[in-house]
């Protein structure tokens, strides 16, 4: 059988629809830029130049995309199971902490990276356990628990970064990730390329899980119609656990990628500034990618490009940072709008 790709059978094919929506976003953003007195063409030129204009820009962009793809998977697998899981943010922090902690051990290259990734993934998954327990046995909404756990993780990892993992010589950061547990330089002389390939491999694994295994099928069934799933004999707690653990692990890996798969600083800044917001931005990426692992890869690259362009636009097109964020917001919103509409039109009618 033909493998289920994104969407299918609708008026506009998904890719065309997204491209059209993106163009609309650029158009409306452009109008805003003109109204505010900036040159839209110059702005967009530098936005893309920042992401694609030079070799180092491209690797920077890829480094941005890798963690976003992983956190988008967290949200997407949640949506597929009928959840609104926004716990990726905190799971990224603990994942980064776990990956750095692995550097206290001496292991051969390769094995060391694997060990760091396992620790990061496990830490992220562990962070999701309270959400599972509270939802499965007490019916607590996952939005509430994940928001609270994000703050728990923030202050917990902040403390760990300052007290346990601190670099004695550099108070602003933790110890650096050992060279043996960093992502290897792959293409273009950068660790970002191998980090991105890793993220793509994880996305592919999610795809296989969701569409080719009975357990993934059960997860999707519960997400689409919990009553029918239950009537068919599926215990709804199992997919709930899978979605939360797999999502947590993926977000934990995003944290690892962020500290072991980007050129600087191979550590956590003590304010956690280099891991902030990847979890929340992953929600946007998931929506743009229609909560489909393969769509998320494309969406992650798109989002990564926009973000990488931030600094160049400020510098060369002289558009203030705040305005660029508004423009970016407009573009992301228009691209995500069709999916948002499809997901939530039912709940609006009720």
């Amino acid at each position: 059988m033909k493998l289920p790709l994104i969407g299918g059978g609708r008026v506009l094919a998904p890719l065309e629809e997204s491209a059209f929506a993106a163009l609309m976003g650029f158009f409306f953003g452009g109008i805003l830029l003109v109204v505010l007195g900036y040159n839209p063409i110059l702005t967009y030129y530098y936005m893309f130049y920042g992401g694609l204009g030079s070799l180092s820009n491209v690797t920077d962009m890829l480094g941005n995309a890798a963690p976003l793809i992983l956190t988008a998977l967290t949200f997407a697998v949640g949506v597929r199971a009928g959840l609104f899981n926004i716990g990726a943010e905190g799971q990224v922090y603990v994942g980064a902490g776990g990956a750095i902690y692995a550097s206290y051990y001496f292991l051969p290259a390769g094995i060391h990276l694997g060990f760091a990734l396992v620790l990061a993934g496990a830490a992220g998954a562990l962070m999701a356990v309270p959400t599972y327990l509270l939802k499965a046995y007490r019916g607590v909404n996952e939005v509430i628990t994940t928001i609270m756990l994000n703050w728990t993780a923030y202050f917990g990892v902040l403390w760990v970064a300052i007290v346990l993992l601190a670099d004695p010589a550099r108070p602003e950061k933790t110890i650096s990730v050992a060279p043996t547990s960093r992502f290897p330089d792959f293409l273009l002389g950068s660790v970002s390329t191998s980090a991105l390939l890793f993220a793509i491999a994880v996305a592919a694994a999610f795809y296989v899980y969701l569409w080719l295994t009975p357990s993934g099928y059960e997860l999707r069934s519960v997400g689409l119609n919990p009553e029918a799933a239950r009537f068919s004999g599926i215990n709804p707690r199992k997919p709930l656990l899978s979605a939360l653990l797999l999502g947590g692990a993926s977000a934990g890996l995003a944290g690892a990628v962020q500290v072991a798969g980007r050129t600087t600083p191979f550590a956590l800044y003590t304010g956690l500034s280099n891991v902030l917001n990847y979890g929340y931005n992953g929600i946007g990426v998931a929506l743009i990618g229609r909560n489909h692992p393969l769509g998320i890869i494309v969406a992650g690259l798109f989002f990564g490009t926009l973000q990488a362009g931030f600094s160049t636009v400020q510098l060369y097109a002289r558009v203030p940072f705040e305005i660029i964020q508004v423009i970016e917001g407009i573009i992301i919103f228009t691209v995500a709008a069709p999916e948002l509409y499809r997901r939530f039109r039912g709940s609006l009618k009720k």
């Binding site: 059988m1 080719l212 295994t213 009975p214 059960e218 689409l224 029918a228 239950r230 009537f231 004999g233």
Partner: protein, 507 residues
């Protein structure tokens, strides 16, 4: 004021056709006079609820006229009806549960429940309540009140708005016997005050005891309008169930085999802890269809859920081929040889967003026959299975990749039934298997059930459709208020007798 015989409500040639083509009401002439309790009687789908929703402004009629107190009216929304003095109390209450009874009663009026006039209003409501015997503690949150008290809050809510036509939809379905008695006392008082009550029910006894006149609906038409003095349970039952056989099905004589499915002394509770199925026992043998008739809401849904393993059992046992399956999960029950056809195919039988391939393996996703390499699902094998089912069961769809949502109701049901029959079960439960289907699909599904019987399977049919029960069953029982009453061989059960049993009268 007009003379007491004047008609408060009158409809003329009222017709309602839903957008999907269902004729819910056809040419209904209905009238209620001042100071009477008027019973509106009928089976499921007879049009009782549609009529009451039109009278209370929730639905608009397709054609026909409504006269209130002699004036032709056109109501667009429930507030229009309230303005004309018509209030409805729904079967499922429309109350804000954490609010107090008082807050609920004044909700939507311009009274501020914490304002200056609140005390006066509360006192007047208390007087009103006392006057008609509807005792309620006004300051308690509604969620802490018993169902009977919640209903009194609903009625007071209407009386506070000065309605003089009160519509009650199945008001006794969730009440205890004592509460029912109290309700009727209050209704009689309201009647003395000159208000009129339209009382929707399927319970013959209540109609006989409390109503002054009765209108019977069947399939959207008025089949009778009689006063209490002319009415007898048997005439009402006949009007209610009628005699319509759409088509004939051949039922070959069968000798039933050994017992396959047994329920002993089953009791089930709802969320509030009320017994919804009471001490129910039955046996189904091979080559036999056991039909459970009854008006919906008498415990059939809960019974089917318990058999399917998705409802907790309070007492009693359910055995399939000698093995206790009560409390087991649906997948275990299926593995023991049960085919489960749920009453709501769109909610429970199918995942509408998924395609047919995905729907035919629902519950079979771990079966070895669909196993690919490692533990994956081999979609190629599933596709073959889907195509076979589509051919064998004449399922009309664009293809196996069509989402279940795109199929017609009849084809959706065929998908469900084919999936359940494909595992060659020894026992089949079919709950409301032809509800909402067209004649051809209905006939096809019924034939499948008869074929299963012919193939030596045991079939438990739960249906509110009396024709279906009579056409298919070898044994018939009627569910009434959670009990299975009047069980007997089909030959011994006349349509009238079942009609009486459905109305709660054991002849």
């Amino acid at each position: 004021m007009a003379s007491p015989t004047k008609e408060l409500v009158k409809t003329s040639n009222l017709t309602k056709t839903y957008p999907d083509g269902t004729h819910a009401l056809t040419g209904v002439d209905f009238s209620v006079t001042k100071g009477e309790i008027h019973g509106l009687l009928g089976e499921n789908g007879a049009g009782k609820t549609t009529l009451s929703k039109i009278l209370s402004g929730i639905l608009k009629p397709t054609s026909g006229e409504i006269y209130i107190k002699g004036n032709l009216v056109r109501m667009k929304r429930p507030s229009d009806a309230l303005g004309l003095g018509i209030g409805m109390v729904h079967q499922h209450f429309a109350l804000v549960r954490p609010f107090s009874a008082f807050e609920n009663i004044v909700l939507g009026t311009d009274l501020n429940p914490t304002g200056e006039r609140a005390k006066e209003a509360k006192a007047s409501i208390a007087d009103l309540a006392k006057g008609v015997g509807l005792q309620v503690t006004l300051d308690s949150p509604v969620e802490s009140l018993a169902l009977g008290a919640q209903q009194r809050v609903e009625i007071l809510k209407m009386l506070y708005r000065n309605v003089d036509i009160l519509i009650l939809d199945e008001p006794t379905s969730s009440l205890t016997i004592k509460e029912t008695g109290e309700l009727f006392k209050s209704l009689l008082k309201l009647k003395e005050e000159g208000k009129c009550v339209i009382f929707i029910t399927h319970k013959l006894r209540e109609v006989m005891d409390f109503c002054d006149s009765i209108t019977v609906l069947r399939q959207g038409k008025v089949t009778g309008r009689i006063s209490k003095s002319e009415a007898s349970p048997i005439t009402l039952a006949t009007m209610m169930v009628g005699r319509t056989v759409e088509f004939e099905l051949k039922r070959s004589p069968m000798t039933p085999g050994e017992e396959v499915f047994t329920i002993d002394n089953l009791t089930l509770l709802d969320r509030e802890g009320k017994e919804v199925v009471k001490d129910l026992s039955l046996k189904v043998r091979r080559g036999e269809i056991f039909g459970i008739a009854g008006v919906e809401g008498n415990g059939q849904t809960e019974l089917a859920e318990a058999i399917a393993g998705i409802r907790r059992i309070a007492k009693g046992s359910i055995r399939l081929k000698g093995t206790e399956t009560g409390g087991k999960s649906s997948s275990v029950i299926r593995r023991h040889g049960a085919g489960l056809i749920p009453e709501d195919r769109r909610q429970m039988g199918l995942i509408l967003e998924m395609n047919l391939d995905e729907n035919v393996i629902l519950g079979k996703q771990r079966d070895l026959q669909f196993r690919g390499s490692l533990t994956s699902i081999a979609w190629r094998k599933v596709r073959q299975f889907t195509s076979d089912l589509m051919k064998k069961f004449e399922i009309t769809a664009k293809g196996p990749e069509s989402p279940a949502r795109s199929l017609s109701g009849g084809n959706q049901q065929k998908v469900v039934v084919s999936r359940e029959l494909s595992s060659d079960p020894d026992f089949i439960v079919a709950a409301q298997p032809t509800r909402g289907l067209d004649v051809a699909a209905t006939e096809y599904i019924r034939k499948l059930l008869l074929d299963s019987r012919g193939g030596g399977k045991a079939v438990l049919l739960i249906s509110a459709e009396l024709d279906e029960i009579l056409q298919l069953s070898d044994q018939i029982g009627v569910m009434y208020e959670g009990r299975l009453i009047g069980v007997g061989a089909a030959e011994t059960m006349s349509r009238e007798r079942i009609g009486l049993l459905m109305g709660g009268i054991v002849a």
